[in-house]
Amino acid sequence: MNYKLGLITMLAAPILAMNPAQAQEQTGQELIGRTVDVQFANGARNSVAFGSSGQARITAADGTLSNANWFVRSNQLCMQMGAMSECWGYNQRFEAGRALTMASTCNETSQWIARSVNPTPAIAPPAVEQGERG
């Protein structure tokens, strides 16, 4: 994230039009352990690595590293850094290499491209090993 941007408290609508099938609750599962490149309207670029326990590491274009926390709620992808937080509309899963244009709660738009994503987890029933390991 470009943390020079203002803080946001209101949810903004995502820019991409969603079809009903896509408008499902997002969990951020596909981002865990993955890196997303973000380009802001003012040309600034960052990459965000999403950790497995809510940590995020942000690398600015000049190599500056920052640590933050991330979480997902009500189809918003939120980043929190110290006392500051900012959320982006997040109504569809990320796909590797596909740009998502997302609006933040201060009406800044940015383009997010996941370098890779985790596969959709199997829900139920789980695969069952044939046999017992003993």
């Binding site: 951020g28 865990i32 352990g33 950790g51 940590q55 926390n69 709620r73 029933p125 090993e129």
Partner: protein, 394 residues
């Protein structure tokens, strides 16, 4: 890519795998919320009672042991009550006391320290005590926090009745709410075949079970034994070879199988062991179907339960007292009046089984000030978990 490494860890054996997603506490979101104090609009589940016990025990530990001078001490001969000198003065100082005599105050302090740190009881000073003191409070606090993280992988509400298998201590605990009602020794996987951390509902028990041997074990272990021991070995071990894993699979005779092809992996064979004496599952197995092929079960070889180190299985959890568990799970004694194989008895209540790995845990979860149990990290998971938590992208 950096992220790939983190994901490999995320999916590795250092985290809980949820067979039933209802048991997932959504830990990533919760920890982010806790870290960021995002409490508005959230209904955060309270910590489960194991986490709460860790929190109380950690606070107590920090107050009692972390504020003391953390000076390093020299090892040496065993010292007892009445000893005096510079070495005693240093140990007194390290434990927050001022004296050059080994008096009753120091003896009490050492007794407390030994209890909290799970050292052999007593009030003497030996190298084991010195080594522990030299590791320092920070070492133990990190260890406690690491294991608290494992507790946080369990849901907020653990269940009215639940089973906790602690692979590190090689024990199974049966809980009703917060009350520990029974426990037993278990045998767990070797370091090469580690028992994974799992959370799922116990579904059913099987009396007179077959042992269905996973194809990798057949290939890597049993094919060679059959080749070397021939038909005599095959028959003596009550093995059956089958044409596949379907219900109507055909039983193959010993000579119908190309055992060399099975050993080389060219042929995948379903091998099972008939119920009865020597069966790998014993007389009962407890099933919570999962992709790891890991279950709780009886065994006819009880000798290893006498060992302190019982990490000898292929990943399953063998039980010291399977019928104690069966009675508790089903609320009655389940028995078979015939020798029919694979008799299934459903578990009527929704009883979770958590297989976790606590290298440190409060000795008494309902009395967290009693100190900690410290266990050997038999699978080397602590280092990997710490690395993952501290630096998920490095």
């Amino acid at each position: 890519m950096q992220g790939e490494f983190a994901y490999a860890q995320y999916n590795g054996d250092i985290v809980m795998h949820y067979i039933d997603q209802q048991l997932h506490p959504d830990i990533a979101v919760r920890e982010a919320i806790i870290a960021g104090n995002f409490d508005e609009n959230f209904k955060i589940s309270p910590p489960n009672f194991i986490e709460a016990s860790f929190d109380k025990a950690l606070t107590d530990y920090q107050n009692k042991w972390a504020k003391l001078p953390q000076d390093k001490l020299e090892r040496g001969r065993i010292l007892r009550l009445g000893a005096r000198g510079k070495r005693i003065a240093k140990i007194n100082k390290r434990l927050g006391l001022v004296d050059d005599v080994f008096n009753a105050n120091l003896a009490n302090r050492i007794r407390d320290y030994r209890q909290v740190h799970d050292l052999p009881s007593g009030n003497h000073i030996d190298d084991e005590l010195i080594d522990s003191l030299n590791r320092g409070a920070a070492y133990y606090i990190n260890k406690i926090r690491l294991n608290r993280h494992r507790a946080a992988e369990l849901p907020s509400n653990l269940g009215e009745k639940f089973i906790l298998v602690d692979v590190a201590s090689q024990q199974l605990y049966m809980y009703e709410g917060r009350n520990l009602v029974n426990q037993m020794r278990v045998i767990v996987g070797t370091a090469d075949n580690p028992t994974p951390m799992l959370a799922g509902y116990m579904r059913y028990s099987v009396l007179n079970p077959y042992w269905n041997i996973p194809t990798d074990l057949t290939r890597d272990r049993y094919a060679r034994r059959v080749i070397d021991g021939g038909k005599t070995y095959f028959m003596a071990n009550r093995f059956e070879a089958l044409s596949g894993w379907e219900e109507d699979a055909k039983i193959l005779s010993y000579s119908e199988v190309d055992w060399e092809a099975v050993e080389s992996g060219k042929q995948k064979l379903r091998l099972r062991q008939r119920p009865g004496l020597g069966n790998g599952m014993g007389d009962i197995k407890f099933m919570f179907p999962n992709k790891y092929g890991v279950y709780l079960h009886d065994t006819h070889n009880e000798t290893p339960f006498k060992l302190d180190d019982r990490a000898i299985s292929a990943g399953c959890v063998r039980l010291e007292k399977p019928w104690l568990l069966a009675d508790w799970l089903h609320g009655k004694r389940i028995e078979s009046d015939n020798s029919k194989p694979e008799q299934i008895v459903n578990v009527e209540q929704k009883i979770p089984v958590y297989i976790s790995y606590f290298t440190t845990i409060p000795k008494n979860l309902n009395s967290p000030n009693d100190g900690f149990s410290m266990r050997k990290d038999i699978y080397g998971r602590d280092v990997r978990l710490r690395k993952s938590l501290e630096s998920p992208f490095s």
